[in-house]
C-alpha cells in the first residue's frame, strides 16, 4: 500500500467528530500556517508541491491561486467544488461524508494564503445529507475557534458556508457553478473574464475541487517538497481513484501517482481483478468525459511502455491511443459489456445535462443520442457510423464550455476503437434487440495492432 495522505485516518472510530479528528493530528496545518507562516509562504509550499487540480482538468493549484486578482477593497472568495457529478466519480462524497473536518481544515490555510475571509462549499443537491454532515463539522470547528474571528489570535477571520445545488451536472463547470451559487440557472459564462478576476458576484474567486483543498493539509504539514517526492514527473502526490464497474472490489482508493494500471486493476490492494472471471474489454480511466481505452491500450501504451496512473502516461498517444486521468473516475468493462449500449448511455446523459446555450451542444447531443438509440435497438445502418462521427466532430471546439467536448470525445473514442461493435449492431438487428446480447455471446475482438 502506498502512502495514505488523505485516507490514513478515514476508518478511525469517531473520525467524523472534531475530538477524534483532533486526536489524530487534525488541524495541525492550521496551527502551523497561522502561527508560523506568512500567506506567501503557504502559497510557496503549494507551488513547490506541484499539486494539480483534482477536479478533472489538472491545472496547477499554486499557479491558479497566484492568478487571483487583489483589487483594493473588494472581497475575494474561495469556492470549493463539491458538485461531483462526473459519472464514475464518488471520491469527494467519501471524503466529506467520512472525514468532513479534513476539508474544513484544508480550507483554512488555503484562504489564509489567498486572503479570503468567506468561503463557500458548493455541494450537489443529491448530497443533502453530506451537506448536513459538513454543517455539523463547521459548527464544531467554529465553536472550537478554528473558524470565525481572529483565529488562533492571528488576526485572520474566516467564515465557511455550505451551499446545496439541485441536480445539474453542468454546475460542476466552474462558471456554471458560480451562476448557480448566485441563484440562477447553471449556464456557463463566456471566458474571459476568468473567475480569478470576476467570479462570484463579480469578485475575484478561486474554484477548487474538494480533493485539491484536502491535499493542502499534508502539503502544509510536511512541506511542498516532501509532497512532490511522491509521484512521477509533473504528477506529484497521491490521488483518489473512484473504481467501479466490472471489478471485484469497487471503492475509493488512494494511490501514489505512478502505480501501473495493470497493478491497479489486478492487485488485491486495489480493484482485485476483473469480476466474473471474464476478460478485460475496455476501461474509462477518468470519468465519462474521457476517451475509452480498448483492452490493448490499457496496460501498455501504443509504444509498448507500461501504462501508469499519471496525468502524462494516461494521455500518452493523445486521443488516438490514449485517454486522460480526469477526475479519477475509473470504470472497467469486461467482455459482457456492450460498448454501443454504454456509448448510447453516455450520450443520453450528455443530452439530458446540456445547459442548452450553444446550438452545437444542445442539438448535437440530441442527434448523437438519437443515432445511438438506433444502433442499440437494431435500427441503424452501417453508414450511420459516419453520420455519428460527423455529428460529434462538429461539436468539439465550437461551444462556450468544455461540456461540448466532453460529450463528443467518448463517442469519437468508441467509434475509433470499437467500430466493429457498431458494425455488428448494424448487421445483427435481431440479436442486438436483446440488451443482454453481449452477456450471452460476446462480440469477438478483431485482430489489430496499435503499434507504430
Amino acid at each position: 500500500m502506498g502512502r495514505q495522505l488523505l485516507l490514513e485516518h478515514i476508518n478511525k472510530p469517531g473520525i467524523r467528530g472534531l475530538e477524534a479528528y483532533r486526536a489524530n493530528g487534525g488541524y495541525r496545518s492550521v496551527e502551523k500556517a497561522l502561527k508560523t507562516m506568512s500567506p506567501e509562504a503557504v502559497l510557496e509550499e503549494v507551488k513547490k508541491s506541484g499539486l494539480r487540480g483534482r477536479g478533472g482538468a489538472g491545472f496547477p493549484a499554486g499557479m491558479k491561486w497566484s492568478f487571483l486578482a487583489k483589487p483594493e477593497g473588494v472581497p475575494r472568495h474561495l469556492v470549493v467544488n463539491a458538485d461531483e457529478s462526473e459519472p464514475g466519480t464518488f471520491k469527494d462524497r467519501y471524503l466529506m461524508e467520512r472525514i468532513p473536518h479534513l476539508l474544513i481544515e484544508g480550507i483554512i490555510p488555503s484562504c489564509f494564503a489567498m486572503g479570503v475571509n468567506t468561503a463557500y462549499i458548493y455541494i450537489r443537491g443529491e448530497y443533502f445529507y453530506v451537506a448536513r454532515i459538513l454543517e455539523q463539522a463547521i459548527g464544531e470547528a467554529r465553536a472550537a475557534g478554528w473558524l470565525g474571528r481572529n483565529i488562533l489570535g492571528s488576526g485572520f477571520d474566516l467564515d465557511v458556508h455550505v451551499h446545496v445545488g439541485a441536480g445539474a451536472y453542468i454546475c460542476g463547470e466552474e462558471t456554471a457553478l458560480l451562476e448557480s451559487l448566485e441563484g440562477k440557472r447553471g449556464n456557463p459564462r463566456i471566458k474571459p473574464p476568468f473567475p480569478a478576476v470576476k467570479g462570484l458576484w463579480q469578485r475575484p474567486t478561486v474554484v477548487n475541487n474538494v480533493e485539491t483543498i484536502c491535499a493542502v493539509v499534508p502539503i502544509v504539514n510536511d512541506g511542498g517538497e516532501e509532497y512532490a517526492k511522491i509521484g512521477i514527473g509533473k504528477s506529484t502526490g497521491t490521488k483518489l481513484i473512484s473504481a467501479s464497474g466490472h471489478i471485484k472490489k469497487p471503492g475509493v482508493y488512494e494511490i501514489e501517482l505512478g502505480v501501473p494500471v495493470e497493478e491497479f486493476i489486478n492487485s488485491d490492494e486495489y480493484c482485485g481483478g476483473i469480476s466474473g472471471g471474464r476478460p478485460l474489454k475496455a476501461c474509462i480511466p477518468g470519468g465519462s468525459s474521457v476517451p475509452i481505452l480498448p483492452a490493448e491500450l490499457i496496460y501498455r501504451t501504443a509504444k509498448f511502455e507500461t501504462r501508469l496512473m499519471t496525468y502524462e502516461s494516461l494521455s500518452d498517444g493523445g486521443f488516438q491511443t490514449g485517454s486522460m486521468l480526469g477526475s479519477g473516475g475509473f470504470y472497467v468493462f469486461n467482455d459482457t459489456a456492450c460498448i454501443v449500449r454504454a456509448t448510447w448511455n453516455h450520450s443520453r446523459f450528455y443530452h439530458h445535462e446540456s445547459c442548452g446555450q450553444c446550438s452545437p451542444c444542445r442539438e448535437g447531443t440530441g442527434w448523437m443520442e438519437k443515432i445511438l438509440y438506433r444502433f442499440e435497438h437494431g435500427l441503424a445502418r452501417t453508414d450511420d457510423i459516419d453520420l455519428l462521427w460527423d455529428v460529434q466532430r462538429r461539436i468539439e471546439g465550437n461551444t462556450i464550455c468544455p461540456f461540448g467536448d466532453a460529450a463528443a470525445w467518448p463517442v469519437a473514442a468508441s467509434i475509433r476503437h470499437f467500430r466493429h461493435e457498431f458494425e455488428y449492431h448494424a448487421t445483427h438487428p435481431t440479436k442486438v434487440k436483446d440488451p443482454k446480447h453481449c452477456e450471452k455471446e460476446p462480440i469477438p475482438f478483431p485482430e489489430r495492432s496499435y503499434a507504430g
Binding site: E84, S85, E86, P87, G88, T89, F90, K91, R93, E97, R98, Y120, R124, G125, E126, Y127, F128, Y129, V130, R132, I133, H161, H163, V164, G165, A166, G167, A168, Y169, S180, L181, E182, G183, K184, R185, G186, W201, S242, A243, S244, G245, K249, P250, G251, V252, Y253, G272, I284, S288, G329, Y331, F333, A337, R341, A342, N345, F349, H352, E353, P435
Partner: protein
C-alpha cells in the same frame, strides 16, 4: 429536465411554516445582503419539502416575494434543476441511477423490476400516490452500484430482494421522504463508498 411551470392543480395558496421561515432566514444570512438571491436554490428545497415534495406556482411566487425578486427569476431556476418537481409526486420518489457504471452492475434490471412491481414506468406515480419511479443520472455512488436515492437517503449495493424489502418498508412509513430530511443514523447514511 422538466420545463413546464403551468400546473394549474397547484392553485392552493402556500405559506411557509414558522420553522421553515426561520430556516429560510438562516440560509439568507449566509450571503451578503445585496446578493440574497443566492439563497434561492436552498430555499426552494425548503419550500418543496413543505409542499408535498413539489413546487406549484404559488409556492414559487411566495419564494420570489420572500427574496424580493421577480417571479420569472424563480421559474427559470426551478425549471432548470432536476431535483425540483413541478408536478405532484409520490410520497416516496425512487430515483434509480441508470448511468453507465450503474448499468454495468444491473441498474436496468432493477428499474424493470420496480416498474413491474409498482405497475408504473419511469416518470410515473402509483395511483395510491405512494411511489414515483425516476431514472436518475449518476448520483456519485457508482462503487456501490446498483443504487437508488429516496429523499435524503442513499440505498446502495441493491439486489431485487433488498429493493422489495425497501418498498415494503416505505409503503408503511408515515412520513414523506424529503431531500431535506435529517438522517437519524449516527453514521449519517452509513454508506459504503469503499470496499
Amino acid at each position: 429536465m422538466e420545463r413546464s411551470t403551468t400546473n394549474h392543480t397547484g392553485i392552493k395558496p402556500f405559506a411557509f411554516s414558522e420553522q421553515g421561515l426561520a430556516e429560510c432566514r438562516a440560509i439568507m444570512a449566509r450571503y451578503p445582503e445585496q446578493f440574497r438571491k443566492s439563497a434561492l436554490i436552498p430555499i426552494l428545497h425548503v419550500a418543496q419539502s413543505e409542499h408535498d415534495g413539489w413546487l406549484s406556482v404559488p409556492v414559487m411566487n411566495t419564494v420570489a416575494d420572500l427574496l424580493g425578486i421577480q417571479y420569472i427569476e424563480v421559474y427559470e431556476v426551478a425549471t432548470f434543476y432536476s431535483m425540483f418537481h413541478l408536478h405532484p409526486v409520490g410520497k416516496h420518489v425512487l430515483e434509480v441511477c441508470h448511468t453507465a457504471p450503474c448499468m454495468l452492475r444491473g441498474s436496468d434490471d432493477l428499474i424493470e423490476h420496480i416498474g413491474k412491481r409498482l405497475g408504473i414506468k419511469p416518470g410515473e406515480t402509483t395511483k395510491d400516490g405512494l411511489f414515483t419511479l425516476k431514472a436518475a443520472e449518476c448520483l456519485g455512488s457508482c462503487g456501490s452500484a446498483p443504487m437508488l436515492q429516496c429523499g435524503a437517503k442513499y440505498h446502495e449495493h441493491l439486489t431485487i430482494e433488498k429493493v422489495d424489502q425497501l418498498i415494503e418498508e416505505l409503503g408503511s412509513k408515515a412520513e414523506r421522504s424529503n431531500y431535506t430530511d435529517h438522517l437519524d443514523t449516527p453514521a449519517g447514511n452509513g454508506t459504503t463508498a469503499s470496499a
